[in-house]
């Protein structure tokens, strides 16, 4: 009995090491290019062709990527650790499609916050997984023809063309981790609108001042998210 326990324990340790090795190997295989942090000189692994912003894993500096050059834009705050289904660089599957989480942005809405996870999908596509207290929405940044002239006039519960505005809100960007395909501004207030066409389809409109971005996707069941190497 004692002997068996020892064998099992060894096996578990061996398995864990192997799993981490596998993830590490995959993570390295996904690196497109490497740069050096202008602040501390540490290596910055870039995994996405159109990455615009990354955080140095050593000194936590925010680094803006412009063409072939890198530009230090300051030290970013470290996000407080919170329980999450996702982990940066730990691949997941959603409805049989693979995604690699590369970064996340956290927005605060007062007493709580939500997170927008940047996922690299198959064929190097950009996806966003919004996680807010058990509500999960998977979306792509695409141009959507909006049924109103200005997002500022939209009210929750009202219909606009084929859409119903199900939520109108705002949040303050409190920080980010990993690498992102778009620049963000810490402490900036972002406004958003959720437009539903029914049946789980979702269009999100994000706007700061006059700049509007649209995301199209759907609500997903969090239980459908599986870690590839769990």
């Amino acid at each position: 009995m004692q002997e068996n326990c020892k064998i099992n324990r060894k096996f578990i340790i061996y398995f864990r090491v192997k799993k981490e090795e596998v993830i590490e190997a995959l993570y390295k295989a996904d690196i497109i290019k490497t740069l050096n942090c202008p602040q501390c000189g540490d290596v910055l692994d870039i995994h996405f062709k159109w990455t615009k912003l990354t955080q140095c894993p050593s000194c936590k500096s925010s680094i803006f990527l412009e063409d072939a050059s890198v530009k230090l834009i300051g030290e970013s705050s470290v996000l407080s650790p919170e329980p999450s289904l996702l982990k940066i660089h730990d691949p997941i599957t959603i409805e049989n499609k693979n995604y690699l989480p590369l970064g996340k942005i956290r927005y605060s809405y007062g007493r709580g916050f939500w997170e927008e996870w940047f996922l690299k999908g198959e064929k190097n596509r950009e996806f966003w997984l919004s996680i807010d207290e058990g509500d999960f929405a998977l979306q792509e940044r695409v141009a959507v023809s909006l049924p109103f002239k200005s997002p500022r006039i939209v009210k929750a519960g009202k219909s606009y063309g084929l859409y119903v505005a199900t939520e109108v809100g705002k949040g303050v960007c409190v920080g980010f981790e990993g690498e992102l395909p778009l620049p963000i501004q810490i402490d900036q207030t972002y406004h958003y609108i959720h437009l539903s066409r029914g049946g789980g389809e979702l269009v999100t409109v994000e706007f700061i001042d006059d700049k509007i971005e649209t995301f199209n996707g759907k609500w997903i069941d969090p239980l459908s998210i599986k870690r590839v190497y769990s």
């Binding site: 919170e82 329980p83 999450s84 709580g112 207290e133 058990g134 539903s196 029914g198 049946g199 239980l223």
Partner: protein, 449 residues
């Protein structure tokens, strides 16, 4: 996502702690029962101090349990009372998971329903939903079932919305047991929840509810699926078995309906010896005795012989079979009833060939007569008929209970729902089955008579 807070009640200064994440809007002080608004500096919104004592429920705030693969903590409770008679009361417990967010566990007299916010419901207005015969959500057909209004009568712990005493909410329930959709309409918005009827024991076990606090219900609930797996399986097996037995029955009916060997009559004047040849020993052989009255039948002795050896004797008081070699009594059998006018003797005659039947009057002075008919290849249908009746019963009982459940569901339904095509098809399916059973019963009865 959650951030942990600790605060004091602005009414009584009792310590409060928040467990339920960033969407919590109100918290009720467990001491003074004041509802505090977290969006407005913990302002007191209402108070439940004078609410009459409510029934003790099996669940309490702070209990933890795993439901639907998710670890939840009970963080709040809302108790509703339906506006209309019989003023049904139920309690919704708010569940929170830091990974999977919020869900509800509804407790209604021992029945437990799990529900979670649904985002895939089609964009239908309140009245549009009630007028649909079926609403399709995620490929599942939900039938509108009931519409009702209820008021909040009690609140405890944390809630993700501002709930005040006597706030009125409209509910529209759609069902596809064990699942359902609950559409809730308050003053501000319409929300959709996917509901599921859960096994009470499983939930109590998950939250480790003490045995003495557990309550179970056998009462009807629209989401409680009609689930009789054993009866359903028996019914399916019975249907196939009945078809096979019916075919066998028809085959045997034609093959084993009997072939006449001899037919004669006897009276009280003399003894009659009749010889017949048994050509087939398949199935049974029968001796049918028919008299005009009971005295006539009781006035005869019957003896069956082969090659001079007695095989069988019979009169009203006793019946025996004999060993053909030793001529000793092999078995004593029951004879016919005293008041009978007719008797049918089934014999398993193993050997083919010549047989002799002797029929002699007991009292030659008693005027009596008897008609005797001997047949071979006669199948005794009694057992097969009994088996068919059992199969019929097994076939019908599940469908009868299922029909009774559907009837009860319709009786309790608060909304009229027009019959869908599938329902009509099912109705036709049931009609054909009843017709089949009816025809079978008629055949059995006619053969038995």
């Amino acid at each position: 996502m959650s951030q942990k807070y600790s605060l004091k009640c602005t009414k009584c200064a009792a310590p409060l702690s928040l467990l339920g994440g960033g969407r919590v809007q109100t918290v009720t002080c467990s001491y003074c029962k004041s509802v505090l608004d977290l969006n407005d500096n913990y302002k007191v919104l209402s108070n439940f101090r004078n609410v009459k004592a409510l029934q003790q429920l099996p669940f309490e705030l702070g209990m933890k349990g795993k439901l639907k693969e998710v670890e939840y903590t009970i963080i709040g409770r809302v108790t509703y009372r339906e506006n209309e008679f019989p003023h049904t009361e139920w309690s919704d417990f708010l569940l929170f998971s830091s990974l999977y967010g919020y869900a509800w566990l509804t407790y209604e007299g021992g029945n437990l329903i799990y529900s979670k916010r649904n985002r895939t419901f089609p964009n239908l207005g309140w009245n549009e939903i009630a007028n649909q015969s079926v609403v399709v959500v995620d490929g599942e057909d939900y039938e509108p079932y009931d519409y009702y209004k209820a008021k909040i009568i009690y609140v405890e712990g944390e809630l993700t919305w501002v709930a005040k005493k006597n706030d009125e909410i409209q509910f529209l329930d759609l069902i596809a047991p064990p699942f359902g959709m609950s559409v809730e309409n308050n003053e501000n918005e319409i929300e959709h929840y996917k509901t599921e009827f859960l096994d009470s024991k499983m939930v109590y076990d998950a939250f480790t509810v003490p045995e003495n606090k557990r309550e179970y219900s056998n009462a009807f609930h629209p989401l409680k699926p009609f689930n009789r797996p054993w009866l359903k399986a028996l019914s399916s097996v019975a249907l196939w078995a009945l078809m096979i037995v019916a075919l066998l029955f028809i085959g045997m009916f034609f093959d084993g309906s009997g072939k006449n060997l001899t037919y004669f009559s006897v009276d009280n004047k003399q003894r009659v010896n009749e010889v017949f040849t048994l050509k087939s020993n398949r199935y049974l052989s029968t001796i049918q005795l028919k008299a005009p009255n009971k005295k006539s039948l009781n006035n005869f002795n019957i003896k069956l012989k082969k090659d001079g050896q007695t095989l069988f004797t019979l009169n009203q008081s006793n019946a025996y079979t004999f060993d053909p070699v030793t001529q000793k009594v092999k078995e004593k059998l029951n004879s016919w009833d005293k008041d009978a006018k007719e008797a049918m003797v089934y014999l398993h005659l193993e050997e083919r060939g010549l047989y002799q039947i002797s029929i002699s009057p007991i009292d030659r002075d008693l005027s009596s007569s008897l008609v005797v008919n001997i047949e071979e290849k006669k199948m005794r249908m009694n057992y097969i008929v009994l088996f068919m009746i059992f199969l019929l019963f097994a076939l019908v009982i599940y469908r009868l209970m299922s029909w009774k459940y559907a009837h009860k569901l319709d009786e309790e339904r608060g909304l009229y729902v027009s019959y869908s095509d599938s329902k009509i098809e099912t109705a036709w399916g049931n009609l054909s089955m009843w017709f089949f059973i009816f025809v079978l019963v008629i055949i059995i009865l006619s053969i038995n008579s």
